[in-house]
C-alpha cells in the first residue's frame, strides 16, 4: 500500500524544553489503514499528531530534527492547503468552535466556506454529515450552548465534512458516554470503509482492538511498539510497561498460564469466544 505520511528520524523539542517530547521516531503511515495510538498521559501522543499535521513545529515552533513528509513533501513546506489533505480533530472540544458562527449548521459549514465550495454543495454535504454524526437535531443551536459530548460530535462533523483523505483524531470520546463512544467508533469505521487513512488516539483499548488495523504504542516520547493490532495487543509484557490491554487478552493470557490450550491470545470478544469454544471442542475430542 502507498505510504502517505513518513517520519524519518524525528526528534522534536517544544520551545524552552530540554527533553524532547518525541524522540527518534521512524514510521510509515500507509494509505487506507486505521491506526490506533495508545500510551499513558504525557507519552507524546498529541505531539505525534501535531507533528504529522505540521502544527509542530509550524505553530508551536520549537526544534524539529529529521523530517515529516506528507505525500513526499515536507510538512514545513506546505501552506494552508494541508487542511484539505489532513483533517484534524483536537483533544479539547471546547476550543474547537470557530467563534464566528451562531448555529451548529453554520459551524459545520464553516470549513467548506473557507474552501470556496458552492452553496448548494455545502448544504448537501453538511446535512449528510449532520445525519451521519447524529447532530441534526442540534442544527439550529448556538455551538457555545452545547454539552461537551455534543461539542465533540460537532467538532468531528466539522472536520469530516471537509472529506480529507487523512484524518487525525485525538481522543474524540473523552466527553462521551459509552453509547456515544460506540457511535463515534461506528462513524470512524464508516470513514475507513470509504478508504480514508485514520490516525486515532484513544484510551479505550477494547474499542481499538475491535476497530483498528495497526496499533502504535508510545511511552515517554518513544514509539516503543508498532504493528498489526493482534500482534501488539496480545503482547502481555506490555502490561508491565503501563500499557492497558484488552480485557479478553488478559483473560486469554491467564487461561494460557493455567494450562488452558488456547491457540493464541485473543484481542476482541468475538475472537475470544470463538477460540475458547474451539479449544473446548478439541479438549472434548481429546478426552
Amino acid at each position: 500500500m502507498a505510504v502517505v505520511i513518513e517520519c524519518k528520524d524525528v526528534t522534536y523539542y517544544y520551545p524552552l524544553t530540554e527533553k524532547p517530547a518525541v524522540e527518534d521516531l521512524n514510521l510509515k503511515i500507509e494509505s487506507g489503514k486505521f491506526y490506533g495510538v495508545v500510551g499513558e498521559n504525557g507519552a507524546g501522543k498529541t505531539t505525534f499528531c501535531a507533528l504529522l499535521r505540521g502544527f509542530a513545529p509550524g505553530f508551536y515552533k520549537g526544534e524539529l530534527k529529521g523530517e515529516v513528509l506528507v505525500e513526499g513533501k515536507k510538512t514545513i513546506e506546505y501552506g494552508g492547503e494541508l487542511s484539505a489533505k489532513i483533517g484534524y480533530v483536537f483533544q479539547n472540544p471546547f476550543t474547537q468552535i470557530s467563534g464566528v458562527k451562531d448555529t451548529v449548521f453554520e459551524e459545520v459549514a464553516y470549513g467548506l466556506e473557507n474552501f470556496g465550495v458552492p452553496v448548494e454543495e455545502i448544504e448537501r454535504r453538511v446535512i449528510e454529515v449532520m445525519k451521519m454524526t447524529d447532530i441534526e437535531a442540534l442544527a439550529e443551536k448556538n455551538p457555545f450552548d452545547l454539552s461537551g459530548g455534543q461539542m465533540q460530535r460537532v467538532a468531528l462533523a466539522s472536520v469530516i465534512v471537509l472529506e480529507p483523505d487523512i484524518l487525525i483524531i485525538d481522543e474524540p470520546t473523552s466527553q462521551l458516554d459509552p453509547e456515544g463512544t460506540e457511535s463515534v467508533f461506528r462513524i470512524i469505521k464508516a470513514l475507513k470503509d470509504r478508504k480514508k487513512t485514520i490516525i486515532l488516539v484513544e484510551h479505550k483499548i477494547d474499542l481499538i482492538a475491535e476497530y483498528a488495523d495497526e496499533v502504535l504504542v508510545f511511552e515517554k516520547g518513544h514509539l516503543i511498539k508498532s504493528g498489526d493490532k493482534e500482534k501488539i495487543l496480545s503482547d502481555i509484557s506490555l502490561l508491565d510497561r503501563g500499557v492497558s490491554l484488552p480485557q479478553v487478552a488478559i483473560l486469554g493470557a491467564k487461561l494460557k498460564e493455567k494450562g488452558f490450550p488456547l491457540r493464541k491470545i485473543p484481542v476482541t470478544e468475538d475472537q475470544a469466544v470463538r477460540m475458547i469454544r474451539e479449544s473446548l471442542k478439541e479438549g472434548k475430542q481429546d478426552a
Partner: protein, 267 residues
C-alpha cells in the same frame, strides 16, 4: 428536508432596520456631526446648548420608525442613567464663572452647568444613535459588510469573534461568580466586598480566554482559514432599497444644519 440556508438569512420587512450596514454607518456619522453642530448653538443667558435635548427625540423617532423601540428602550435607559450621573457630577463639581445657585455646601457655577449639559446630552445623543445601529443590525451583518468592504478576512475575523466573545465572556463570568460563591467567596454586599470578589474571578476568565484563543488558532487552521482563493458565504447581505434615499436625506439634513449654523454666526 429542512431549508437551513434559508433559515440563516436575515429578512427584515422594515426598510430602515434593513438598511445596508454601510448606509447605517453613514447615518451614524452624520448624526454625530449634527450633534456637534447643535452643541455649538448656545441659548439662555449662560449659553447652554439646550437644543441637544429635543434633538434626542430624533433617536426615539428613528427607533420607532425602525420598529425596534421596545428593544432600544432598555439600552437607552442605561445610557440615560450614565448621562444623569455625568450631569450631576459635572454640575456640582466643576467650578468657574459666576455662582448661580447655592444650598448648604452645594454650589453650582456657570461653567459647571454648561459642561454638564453639553457633555451629558452629547453622550446621550451619540450613544443613542449607536444603540439604534446595534439594535437594528446583527453581528453577522456587520462582519459580512466589513469583509465585502475589502477588509482583510483576518481582521474581519478578529472583529466578529470579539463581538461573539463579549457575549460569551458575560455568560462565563456569571458561571465563575457562581463557582466563587460556592467556594464561599462573598460576591454580594457592598462595593468593596464585591470588588474583592470580582478581581480574582477575572483571573480564570482571562487565562481561560488566552489559552483557548491559542488553541482556537489551530482549530481555524484545520478548517482552512488560511486557504488561498475565494471563500463562499452562506449568509447573503441584502439591501432594503432605501439606501440611496436614506444616505441622501442624512447628508442633506447635515448640510442644511451646517448652513443654518453658519448663517447664525454671520447674522
Amino acid at each position: 428536508m429542512e431549508n437551513y440556508i434559508e433559515k440563516i438569512q436575515i429578512r427584515k420587512s422594515n426598510k430602515l432596520a434593513g438598511l445596508y450596514p454601510s448606509t447605517k454607518a453613514l447615518i451614524v456619522l452624520m448624526y454625530a456631526v449634527c450633534t456637534f453642530i447643535v452643541n455649538t448653538i448656545e441659548v439662555t443667558d449662560i449659553g447652554l446648548p439646550l437644543f441637544l435635548i429635543p434633538q434626542f427625540l430624533v433617536i426615539l423617532i428613528l427607533c420607532k420608525a425602525s420598529g425596534v423601540l421596545g428593544r432600544c428602550i432598555k439600552a437607552l435607559n442605561t445610557v440615560a442613567v450614565v448621562a444623569l450621573i455625568i450631569l450631576l457630577v459635572q454640575t456640582f463639581l466643576v467650578p468657574g464663572g459666576d455662582l448661580i445657585w447655592r444650598f448648604g455646601i452645594l454650589r453650582i457655577y456657570e461653567r459647571g452647568l454648561r459642561t454638564a449639559v453639553s457633555l451629558s446630552f452629547l453622550i446621550m445623543n451619540i450613544a443613542g444613535i449607536f444603540v439604534w445601529l446595534f439594535q437594528t443590525t446583527e453581528n453577522k451583518e456587520i462582519s459580512r459588510a466589513l469583509e465585502d468592504s475589502g477588509m482583510n478576512y483576518k481582521a474581519a475575523y478578529v472583529f466578529t469573534s470579539t463581538l461573539q466573545m463579549i457575549e460569551i465572556l458575560g455568560r462565563n463570568s456569571k458561571t465563575i461568580m457562581n463557582a466563587q460563591k460556592a467556594r464561599g467567596v462573598e460576591t454580594e454586599g457592598n462595593l468593596i466586598v464585591r470588588a474583592k470578589a470580582f478581581f480574582p474571578s477575572l483571573v480564570p476568565l482571562i487565562l481561560g480566554a488566552v489559552i483557548s484563543s491559542e488553541e482556537r488558532v489551530l482549530t481555524l487552521e484545520a478548517r482552512g482559514f488560511t486557504m488561498q482563493g475565494p471563500k463562499t458565504h452562506l449568509f447573503e447581505l441584502k439591501k432594503s432599497g432605501w439606501e440611496g434615499k436614506a444616505a441622501a436625506a442624512s447628508v442633506l439634513i447635515t448640510v442644511l444644519l451646517l448652513a443654518g449654523r453658519i448663517m447664525l454666526w454671520l447674522l
